[in-house]
Amino acid sequence: MIILLVEDDAILAQQAITFLENEGIEVDYARSLAQAKGICVGQHYDAIILDINLPDGTGLSLAQQWRDTNTAPILFLTARSALEDKLAAFAAGALDYLTKPFALEELVIRIKLLAKKHSCEATHFNLDTLSIDLEAKIIKRAQRTIILSPQQWTLVALLLRHSPAPVSKEMIINTVWPDQDVNNNMYKSLLTRLRTNLTKDDEVELLHTLKKQGVALRLAND
């Protein structure tokens, strides 16, 4: 997936680009309207992230100019949360709208949904309030969006394939770290992070360590 990010705040842009690229999303970056117009010539994007307040104009005007030529869905970023600003963004052709400050996790989810990379039912998994889309790499627990590192995704995919049966420690290590020497701390760190990400506060625990059997992704009474 390749997207265009038009944002004049360099720090915010750098952080977003790093995060998106870690999520497997390629990013073209423009700091101004003029740069954006230049970059997007002859280029197709799966989605466009457009800041409303830019140094040489508003993102709204650019979106209006692109109405006839651009087919990529547009997501606006803005510091203003007033209703009239949202309506103006949607009137300019936006399909989505995000108010700063926003969480990068939310940005990723919205881009993926905008770009319609949803897959068929076979790659969807649901357990209690946990919902996983392996193809789009979207994972949510109720309304909470979860961001997993690549190793955590590998582990989740492995546990899903075997669920509700447990997966042994050896299999986990061979799958997640196929060509590396792994110490116990690395294994524990991975499991702790995944457990913390999947279950917070009063949510039902889904990742269970079974003595001498391994780790299972299931409800406690399965």
């Binding site: 995060f19 007033a82 700063k100 926003f102 997993l148 524990k188 760190s189």
Partner: protein, 389 residues
């Protein structure tokens, strides 16, 4: 728009009053001059004194009596009623008196000489004097009409201008006034409004600036935490540190939201909160810290539009005050109109706080449009937050 010539309201009123009074004076003088020939003035007195001196110098036969006057030294030549007056000492020597008798105007002068006084009496038939009554009635009628017309017009003008001024107070239209004073008030009002709008605009800009300055680094911290979450092979020892950082960031974000909301709160920030659930959670959280709250709720569910960070801030101040200065349990009562917090004060604590907590609660209530009230009766201390729907 044609330019209206402006007038001073005081000039306006003085001029009209002066015209009215001047008119009365002029008319009155005209009547006096033209109609009332027989007023008691020096002319009439002159002729009485003249006659008296004529008699005293023996230029006039004594007694002189005709239909129009009597000049005599003998009091018995006078009519009985004048004799009575003289005997009752109602007639002054060398003073002319004007009396009415039998439809006559009678001037009487007792003129003193070295010997007996000379009495001079002049008669004027009242029928020969023009009656003032019709004139007075005419003047009164004319003046009444004039005064009514002038005053009605003046009142109409003043009322119209006053209504225009009232309208200017309520709307923002620019109007020109007939009176200088009203125009001055309107100009002052516009100036005050402009300054107020300017101050509000500055406050909004400052709030936006502060919000941006606070939220930008918070946002950057949040993004860094998200980037951390994407990293593989994080050391085990680093996990609790990152977790602590994440909690601290969440608390800082909530506190910043609350503090910024104390300054300026937008309508779009208000969301429905189930106060019954909220207070129960608050009770549980404080119980975990060893603080006992007795919660009484007269309703099962109460949902109200409010801003949670401000609510958290207020309850934090209330619980802090309670823990510092109170004895026994904190009684919390929730009803449809508000929340009441009651506790007994700890008499052993003599040092009073600086009032910062209540200042924060007061400001938060202002932003939420709630009413806040503190009362103390004996050793019972009560804080009442009243909702404003």
């Amino acid at each position: 728009m044609t330019k209206v010539k402006q007038h001073s309201i005081s000039q306006f009123l003085v001029l009209r009053t002066a015209i009215t009074l001047l008119t009365i004076i002029v008319i009155w003088i005209a009547i006096v001059l033209n109609s009332y020939h027989y007023a008691l003035d020096d002319t009439a007195a002159h002729y009485l004194f003249y006659d008296a001196e004529q008699l005293a110098e023996n230029h006039l036969a004594q007694p002189y009596i005709d239909d129009f006057k009597i000049v005599t030294k003998n009091i018995n030549d006078l009519p009985a009623w004048i004799i009575d007056l003289w005997q009752q000492q109602q007639l002054e020597l060398n003073e002319v008196s004007l009396l009415q008798h039998n439809r006559d105007d009678v001037y009487i002068l007792p003129y003193s000489t070295n010997t007996t006084p000379i009495f001079v009496v002049h008669y004027f038939a009242q029928a020969e004097s023009l009656s003032l009554l019709p004139w007075l009635a005419l003047i009164a009628g004319i003046l009444t009409v004039v005064i009514i017309v002038i005053n009605i017009n003046s009142a109409k003008k003043i009322i119209t201008e006053t209504l225009k001024l009232h309208a200017t107070v309520h709307d923002k239209k620019i109007r020109t006034f007939y009176f200088d004073e009203f125009d001055t008030v309107a100009i002052q009002l516009r100036s005050i409004r402009a300054k107020e709008q300017d101050a509000q605009q500055k406050e909004r800009l400052l709030s936006a600036f502060l919000s941006h300055e606070v939220r930008t680094p918070l946002s950057q911290i949040n993004h860094c935490l998200s980037l951390f979450a994407q990293q593989d092979d994080l050391p085990l020892a680093a996990l609790p540190i990152i977790d602590q950082l994440s909690h601290a960031h969440k608390n800082l974000t909530t506190s910043s939201d609350a503090i910024l909301a104390l300054w300026q709160l937008e309508e779009c920030h208000l969301h429905e909160v189930n106060l019954t659930t909220y207070l129960k959670n608050w009770q549980t959280n404080l119980a975990n810290k060893g603080v006992c709250i007795v919660l009484k709720m007269s309703i099962k569910t109460l949902k109200i539009k409010t801003y949670k960070p401000l609510l958290n801030l207020m309850l934090e101040q209330i619980s802090r005050n309670y823990q510092h200065y109170a004895n026994g349990d904190l009684q919390v009562t929730l009803c449809e109109t508000g929340i009441t917090f009651t506790n007994t004060t700890n008499k052993d604590i003599t040092q009073k706080g600086n009032g910062l907590g209540f200042m924060i609660i007061n400001q938060a209530c202002k932003q939420l449009n709630w009413h806040y009230n503190v009362t103390q009766q004996a050793d019972m201390f009560t804080v009442r937050l009243t909702f404003n729907y």
